[in-house]
Symmetry: C2
Subunit: 368 residues, 2 copies
């Protein structure tokens, strides 16, 4: 199970100490971030005192802004434009300025209700999770299935398909199910031409289930050497299936709400998103994220340049791991411009991660 840390610790980097802001600086930074998130327009000192009750004049705000800029928390598109938060500004905001509300009770119930409508078998519920995340945060959502980091064998069934093939159905210890179609020749070559019946298959499966439960791929391979005949071959197949489950860590990614991001002014020229989509869809980007998220637990926020990947320098991620007690681990979260409504996104991601933990746990050991 994934633990929840203190709510105020979304950093990927260590908490920056020694950065003391005055009360006023904090208020100004908060106002700038919140205004800019809403309007997408650089915000000036005048607009700020008008829209937020800062109780000081615009000149004062200006000097506070200048200080914040010197600290690297705000930046200037050009001389006579308003201020825009820098990545670091967002960071400080997320870390200590944001007033993070938890999800409405009614929203929570609505989400729960939607999950109750859908079969937890098959990946339909992951799609649902992505859809809910996307709709609720107006950003792009990403959800990956929960997979054990180290796959262990659970249970094997060999099924006669009545033609040239057989089906091996393998239940992993974490509850995931994998299957592989086997050419008849694979199992039969041990028998001297004698056709195998379902009874033979069941026998071999029984041997294997008794011998190999709870073992990892390599362990099975070692044991297989001591077996003979049909069971030995079946064990080889099991070993390779278990190992496959190990290596294919993030095989499917469910995304939703890409259109939401396309609507944001920062991605008005669609080509800007291209790199992001590519990274998301093709590479091992999310896979590299898994250990980071798992180590930190809870919700992690990665803002703009904090992201190691160049293509992601203009987006923020708000992600959390979810998983089963035995360590099967999945990811879920949202992706949007750095100008993202963090106070909305973070609780939503947190709630959904918690919910999926619950679902996966109550359904025993996970299902995906």
């Amino acid at each position: 199970m994934v633990g929840e840390q203190s709510p105020h610790s979304h950093t990927a980097a260590p908490p920056r100490s020694g950065l003391e802001l005055t009360e006023r600086q904090q208020n100004v930074l908060r106002a700038v971030v919140e205004d800019y998130v809403l309007s997408a327009v650089p915000v000036g000192s005048r607009a700020l005192v008008d829209r937020y009750r800062l109780l000081v004049s615009s000149a004062t705000v200006r000097s506070a802004m200048a200080e914040l800029e010197a600290l690297g928390l705000l930046s200037h598109p050009h001389t006579s434009a308003g201020r825009v938060p820098s990545d670091l500004g967002y960071r400080v905001y997320v870390e200590s300025l944001m007033r993070e509300a938890s999800l409405d009770r009614s929203d929570q119930l609505m989400i729960r209700h939607q999950f109750s409508q859908v079969q937890l078998t098959s990946n339909e519920w992951l799609r649902l999770a992505a859809s809910i995340l996307a709709g609720s945060t107006r950003s792009a959502a990403v959800v990956t299935p929960a997979k054990a980091r180290r796959a262990r064998f659970g249970h094997l069934q060999l099924v006669e398909l009545g033609d040239q093939t057989r089906l091996a159905v393998l239940v992993l210890a974490d509850g995931n199910v994998v299957q592989r179609r086997l050419d008849r020749a694979v199992l039969d070559r041990t028998m001297a031409g004698e056709p195998l019946g379902q009874a033979d298959l069941d026998g071999a499966a029984a041997t294997i289930n008794a011998d190999l439960a709870g073992l990892t791929g390599p362990q099975i391979r070692r044991r297989a050497a001591k077996l003979t005949g049909l069971a030995a071959h079946a064990a080889e197949v099991v070993a390779s299936l278990v190992e496959d489950a190990d290596t294919v860590a993030v095989e499917e990614v469910f995304t939703d709400g890409i259109g939401n991001v396309l609507e944001q002014p920062e991605f008005a020229e669609g080509a800007k998103l291209r790199g992001v989509l590519e990274v998301l869809q093709r590479s091992d980007f999310l896979e590299q994220l898994v250990p980071v998220l798992a180590r930190r637990g809870g919700v992690t926020v990665i803002i703009g340049h904090e992201n190691a990947n160049d293509a992601m320098h203009e987006v923020s991620l708000v992600f959390a791991p979810y998983g089963a007690p035995d360590g099967a681990l999945g990811l879920l979260g949202v992706l949007g411009p750095t100008r993202m409504p963090y106070p909305r996104a973070i609780p939503t991601v947190r709630y959904l991660a918690t919910l999926m933990n619950e679902l996966i746990t109550s359904h025993h050991g996970g299902d995906a």
Copy 2:
């Protein structure tokens, strides 16, 4: 199996007769389409005679263009701009002007090689198909798994999971596998408190396998009424699983290469794609496409406004069905601006559909 029709019949609408073009008009239209597809810039009479050996003067081309415009095959962004093909113009081009080359032998081999690298179990190969399509046509690719239109029962296994649940693994007649976790109570309530063992489960499964093979959901429901005890309940479960497989026709959609489309100038303002993505991801759009494609067989091209869906008025689809002999049916194809390289896209889609037919057939009855 999906039949191949004559290569020149990509229309969704009936072939338009009575539209006789002179040789010259045909040459001009072809040149306009091909130039515009490459350049994305409205093409003028002068540029045309320069770039293509039309052997006439620009004035002559101008009059031919005017004729084509009167026929509704070309259009004018504004008075002094070049011509652009209309949807109908593309239609005529695709129907009778295009010189459609089949795929390079080397491309074919490369694609085949990539497929040989991947397990056909799990949906990994669908992802691969989408990736190949997207890469090869520089458009967005869409692939859906092959699903039987009318699901029929094949084989059932009941597996004891050793805790509060059991797993029903069901092989459909078309080779697809579905599973559902069962709460212990579901099966046990027929037995007067007496715990069930794997032997009992096997017995019930055997009864059901003998009785229900090849039946549809409703048929199974009727038979279930005549069964008693454990088998009756198991049959209910089987019926509902089979019916589920019926209704969830297109449950997963694999897309790739959305970035390719974002790069096209017609979608430079990313928001334009938003509607398209939404339709593609959320709605039953593809499901409605299934019967159309299945009826026509082979590659179907749907250009701009020919598409019933408003959101799709600025894109073209080049799609084909693929499937197993027993009728399991999937879709695959590409989506791009109407200004699409049809002579490249069509053979690629056709080849991939053929290839997937082969793969699915040789692996017996399909796998997804």
